[in-house]
Amino acid sequence: MTQAKLNRPLSSEELDRFGAELDALRARTVAKVGDEDARYIRRIVKAVRYTEAAGRALLFAGLFPPAWILGTLLLGLSKILENMELGHNVIHGQYDWMNDPTLNGKTYEWDIVGTSENWRKTHNYKHHTYTNIRGLDDDIGYGVLRIFPEQKWKPLYLAQPLFAVIFALLFEWGVAIQDVRLGRWLKGKMSGAQLRKEFAPVGRKIRRQIIKDYVAFPLLAGPFFLPVLTGNIVANILRNLWTYMIIFCGHFTADVETFPKSVLRNESRGHWYLRQLRGSSNISGGTLLHIMSGNLSHQIEHHMFPDLPARRYAEMAPVVREICARYGQNYNTGSLPRQFGQVVWRILRHSLPSRPRREAVLTVDAPQDAAVA
């Protein structure tokens, strides 16, 4: 389907009203945030702790295969919950209002090799502010994949289906080094000393994670070193695959758009909301899916309101959807198989040369948006 059929271009006056309606929804939700949300996130912390303890305990009995399987699954589950519903959301500052130093967006350190510090920069700032703007949002293909026809094709991309699988397995490592600009160093644009300096905190975090999961806990198990080690490796991989799938569904489905830098010129609040909508896609499903995806299944709401407690997205979603319908905007949602199917198709399709469609038109009266492709 073409973008014009999906989305009606809005006048700037319509955009202002669109933005004001979303702002009003935001204000109504902020007024409700309180005790209930605090109790919820504490329950999530509890679930993370208990599943981790149970998983690690079972792995100590990991010579017995059912214990190994259950232990690995529980540990993977714990890591997924910790990274997504807890870590990702806390780091956005969603729970800063609780004034709890253990749930503070600036200091929370999550259970993954990437540092929260780098994540705050690549994700909270670059990706959320410049969502899907080519050249500013490093999350477009993460610098290794060609997901959109607007990215320049190179023969190397023929191997992309293979890369994509390796990248999924090692996703946490990709995220960890995303902000360490290896490319600049390889091209000689950055000195070795500078690279070492940028890498130092990442190196420390990586060391801590490796020692914890691959040395300390296995050693603690004594004779059962191996089952614990393999269980930890598999749990980390399970988490990698799941987070990769959820995150890719958020921005790389079929109808998602990317934008040229020119959209930023005098971008209004309504325009910004519209860009978040057009650059994101949701996954439909039940409560379990929402919790396990850290509510990134509500990617659209998350991008519009990244600092509101994510558990509120579910109640905001129908309102957002209704507003979008009134303004003739596509609300991109679908089941996990459908959305991930579209992601896989994009990865396969754009490994081959492809040409961009006409550039997306966001507004009717701002000519810079209709920049040539």
Binding site: D35, D100, K126
Partner: protein, 357 residues
């Protein structure tokens, strides 16, 4: 033990499990259990706290930031221990009920023996110096009696040299804290001079020693009761209004004057005005325009705090606000909560501020 555990478990995770065993066990956070409660006066309760080993203690006259969780939000307020440090390491706080007050209502109405509070390190300079001879005048109003009580108790316990005068203002007889103990000390110790002033009671209820009804601390009154003010070191503590008038009366005339206010400074409603912003971590204090976002105002002064989106979404610019009132430029909401997180790109100052920057 901590070195061994360090690679296995993060402090937060340790605290989670440790608190299941003992509610005041923690990796590094100073926590304290309420071990007793007693009414101190009408609308005032004394809480006796037993801190864990991470609390480093206090000196009489200092204050401690106390944190409690109220409706899911951790709220922090300062309180001044009223006891003196002893071998049992206990801390006694006397909390006065403030109408509509969040923390005081919680501490007085909703805490029980066994509950746990978090403590910060003790702070404040209103303490006894090494050589506390000479003459001392303590001026207290309302809950401002709390650090003074600790000072008086320390003075009495150590049989310190010199003369001590305490002027303690309360609204009514029933609201006086520690009245019996103070009167008893004044009767026993000739170098201790006590004046209890009641602003809302007239002479009709006369009777209690050292008590003046309908009295008010002003220059004439002080001149009569403490004629040699110039020979005194003066400490004053209470609501901001009281501290201001104490400063006017005694600030220039006393040998030395030090005051601490228990209520926040006035709000600047005029967006064209300026406020004083103290950057605690970098040790600077700046005069900033109140009308602008704090981020823009700081940048205009050559301070460049970390930031990203400049529109309140990425949380990069969030920093700790230690005290003061701010206003969200998008919603117009005001926030006077001390020790809370603040996004400086979308907030302006409405009062003098202290930021953890």
């Amino acid at each position: 033990m901590r070195r061994l555990l360090n690679p296995l478990i993060a402090p937060d995770v340790f605290d989670f499990w440790a608190s299941k065993v003992n509610s005041t066990w923690s990796w590094e956070r100073p926590l304290a259990r309420i071990v007793a409660r007693r009414p101190e006066a009408h609308g005032a309760v004394t809480l006796v706290l037993q801190p864990n080993r991470h609390f480093a203690g206090f000196v009489p006259g200092q204050h401690i930031n106390v944190t409690a969780e109220i409706d899911g939000v951790r709220v922090t307020r300062s309180y001044s221990p009223t006891n003196i440090p002893a071998a049992d390491r206990r801390v006694e706080l006397t909390v006065k009920q403030i109408d509509g007050g969040r923390m005081s209502t919680h501490l007085i109405g909703h805490t029980q023996v066994g509950d746990v509070l978090e403590l910060g390190p003790a702070f404040g300079e209103m303490t006894w110096p090494e050589a506390a001879d000479g003459r001392w005048l303590l001026l207290a109003a309302g809950s401002g009696i709390t650090p003074m009580m600790s000072l008086v108790r320390a003075w009495a316990a150590a049989c310190m040299p010199g003369e001590l005068t305490l002027v303690y203002t309360a609204r009514t007889q029933a609201e006086l804290c520690f009245a019996a103990e103070l009167r008893e000390l004044a009767a026993r110790e000739p170098r201790f001079h006590l004046h209890l002033l009641l602003t809302r009671e007239s002479d009709a209820f006369a009777g209690a020693p050292y008590t003046e009804r309908g009295g008010r601390l002003d220059a004439d009154w002080l001149q009569q009761r403490v004629p040699e003010l110039a020979a005194h070191t003066v400490y004053a503590c209470g609501p901001a209004g009281f501290v201001d008038s104490a400063r006017q009366i005694a600030g220039n005339r006393a040998a030395r004057f030090h005051a601490e206010a228990f209520t926040p400074p006035a709000l600047v409603d005029d967006v064209a005005g300026t406020v004083r912003v103290e950057l605690r971590a970098s040790g600077r204090t700046l005069e900033l325009p109140a009308g602008q976002s704090l981020l823009a105002a700081l940048e205009a002064q050559g301070v460049h705090p970390a930031h990203g989106c400049r529109m309140g979404i990425c949380n990069t610019c969030a920093c700790g606000k230690l005290s003061g009132t701010t206003q969200d430029l998008n919603t117009g909401d005001r926030d006077a909560e001390p020790n809370s997180a603040l996004r400086i790109c979308v907030n302006r100052a409405c009062s003098d501020l202290t930021l953890d920057l």
